[in-house]
Amino acid sequence: MTSLANAFTLIAVGCGALLFLAGTLGLLRFPDTLSRLHALSKADNLGLGLIVLGLLPQAASFTGGLKLVCVWLLAQISAATASQLIAGVLYRRKLRP
């Protein structure tokens, strides 16, 4: 049972790390600011979600696991809001002559 949980952790954490790499590659290679913002907010938050999912079997207690999920929820909400705010600033700048 423990080895099964460890294998799950390794797979999920590995996938999360790969998604972080994909997000950074998008950040380095995409042509303009809005598409870079897209790469950053999508890939990195999915990576964080996979890492949290992988760490859940390693959590010492139920409250510890719940707190991990809360970190992920806060990350999702704040990343969505912050991406909208940054994109709104960019849009208003484009409107201005």
């Binding site: 954490v13 950074t24 950040l27 950053l40 890492i51 990350a75 991406s83 600033v89």
Partner: protein, 96 residues
């Protein structure tokens, strides 16, 4: 197990540093705020992994704090920008 988790944390730190280097070199202010966002997400992931590797649950609080600071600083950046206001934006749409 702890070694592998620490390795994953180091990998994410290196990847985040690469992204930060690129974003910080940019001239646009919004891209610098993207650096803050990247630091929040990547830093939280690395801190969570390190906390699981060293089995110290207090590291979760650090990750929460990092995410909170990134969110608040992005909101402060957006409110600090000069806005066109509702009337001005309608006017701009008419002109366009």
């Amino acid at each position: 197990m702890a070694d592998l988790l620490t390795g994953a944390a180091l990998f994410i730190l290196v990847v985040t540093a690469l992204g930060l280097f690129k974003v910080l070199r940019s001239e646009i202010a919004a891209e610098r705020m993207m650096a803050v966002q990247l630091l929040g997400t990547g830093g939280a992931a690395a801190v969570l992994l390190l906390g699981a590797a060293s089995s110290s649950p207090a590291m979760t609080d650090v990750a929460l704090l990092l995410m909170l600071l990134a969110a608040v600083s992005c909101a402060a950046f957006a409110f600090g920008q000069p806005s066109l206001g509702p009337d001005a934006s309608e006017q701009a749409e008419d002109e366009a």
